[in-house]
Symmetry: C2
Subunit: 327 residues, 2 copies
């Protein structure tokens, strides 16, 4: 997602752009290769335009403002702790990570603020929505939300990332946007399991609806607004994650549904599958907030307790008949 963000920022066709974009990577060698080749094997469809340059040392990361954080949440704290002393005070930070830190159960922007706490952090924001990177790299039409409690930052991001093919909506519910983006990955794993079992569109659409209800319940219990879950960053992102063949979490689930072991899949994929650790976080958060999350429980049991995927689906389908939305 970092590569796509760099490309959009530097290569857009809409209005004034920043003069250059600096990309920093945790591995200096990899960053150097990316700067030379202008392509990453992780996203071969994308070609970095000329105004994107690679930073080879921590200190060079300071040039960019705002900073865009595309670090998977489980690595976010240590990366920002390393970078903190190079970050000028009050610089705004936009996060595109979709997960929840397992140890602390914090959202990405909360983790970033903690890591920068001794360095006078600026406002934080989130970019989210149905944004499969491989499609953005091909400039296919898409939408995003830019969420921040800071109006200047969310409008700035709306302006910076908006192009002819990428429509950016401003939003002010940061907890909602981040929680929706994290929790939908758990439902997407379940959707992939259904694909692996060849259960069909009716089943997957039912899962989407029941999963949306489940993650909304949890989000609302944690202070998010329900309408955020019914918007682009919620149901929109959930839909693309459940149906796009390129979704990382869906693809993992499909492998599990076909009988592959979690460890084998994670060993062969080049990507970080954020939903795996997020499933642990979601089950912990549900317990803490006393929210019923049968789908997340089932995914957790498949991932970590070797429950057979078919048994997990049967268990969900055979709960006693009931009203859909008891008031």
């Amino acid at each position: 997602m970092g590569i796509v963000c760099g490309s959009v920022l530097a290569g857009s066709d809409a209005g004034p752009r920043p003069p250059f974009v600096t990309m920093w990577g945790h591995d200096p060698d990899e960053a150097g290769r990316l700067a030379q080749a202008r392509r990453s094997p992780l996203l071969p469809q994308a070609r970095l335009p000329a105004p994107v340059r690679g930073a080879r040392a921590h200190a060079e990361a300071r040039a960019a403002a705002p900073l865009v954080s595309a670090i998977p949440v489980q690595y976010c704290r240590q990366a920002w702790q390393r970078l903190a002393r190079f970050v000028p005070p009050a610089v705004p930070v936009l996060s595109v990570a979709k997960g929840i830190e397992v140890r602390t159960l914090l959202r990405p922007t909360q983790v970033i603020l903690e890591a920068l706490a001794d360095h006078r952090p600026g406002p934080v924001g989130v970019l989210s929505g149905p944004t499969i990177a491989a499609e953005l790299a091909r400039c296919l039409p898409a939408t995003m939300v830019s969420a921040s409690a800071d109006e200047t930052l969310r409008l700035c991001a709306q302006r910076l990332f908006g192009t002819r093919w990428l429509r950016v909506y401003a939003h002010d519910d940061v907890p909602g946007v981040e929680l929706a983006g994290a929790t939908k990955n758990v439902i997407a794993i379940a959707a992939g399991i259904l694909d692996g079992l060849q259960a069909g569109y009716n089943a997957k659409s039912a899962l989407l609806a029941r999963g949306l209800a489940e993650i909304t319940r949890l989000g609302v219990a944690m202070g998010a607004r329900s309408d955020t879950f019914f918007g682009l960053a919620g149901v929109g992102d959930l839909a693309t994650s459940c149906f796009s063949p390129e979704g990382r979490n869906r693809s993992l689930g499909e492998a599990l549904g076909r009988g592959e072991a979690l460890g084998d899949y994670l060993a062969r994929t080049p990507h970080v599958v954020e939903g795996v650790e997020t499933t642990r976080s979601v089950v912990d958060l549900a317990a803490r907030h006393a929210v019923e999350t049968p789908i997340a429980q089932a995914v957790h049991a498949v991932l970590f307790d070797a429950l057979d995927p078919l048994d997990a689906i049967s268990r969900l389908m055979s709960r006693p008949p009931r009203d859909e939305a008891p008031r």
Copy 2:
């Protein structure tokens, strides 16, 4: 959908079933062929089990109780007017149609009640949800909602249609379930247009989210509950209609997106595509209730004013940037 309902009612594996199911068709010859062949060319995956028999005359339709109405809404009034004198008083009727009568802007159950008005009609209910017939015919796992203001009827339908692979949720918002089922077809046509233009999953998921917001606004203005639109009969059905390759409305949209003319497509499909007439109804209802429905307007312009599908999408994408959910 009538064939699937007959099969589920007669062939289920869950608990006591009715001793027989009578199917009535508007064309006696066609009904006779179906009764003999036990299959319809419209749904070759389904085979009617033995307890399903075909009615050859109007009078034979009276045997069944409750009655299940699987008549497309634009033909519903005249069919029920023909049948009315054969319907015993107070017999409950369950509708599975997903549309809005163009001339009156009424929902299917309202049309049925009007047609039966002189014959002491019983309670009415609706069966809806993400239920692509071809998958139901293969007994793939699915969910449905059974909605009625009459508690006995909705629980009866929940019991009759619930099987090991079909989970039925009871619901009490009949207007919401019917309006969601009708209006999602308009969004599904738009989704198909995106498919025809090969716009990708991000775009279609954004359409799903914005479309859901649009049909929810209209439904709420007409007295439906918003949570109905966020459940199985709303977003669940919307998802399967937008993503399943078998969806009739999506398939029509895809043909339009590829450049086929509406008339040509309708001439070659053997199915009734309810979304076409419903698009007229939705645009009329939106005007009557002063609700903004940009997606339905765009679909209407493509269907009836020969707007180029690509121009329709560009028009939707180039609206001025804004907040996602202004409160």
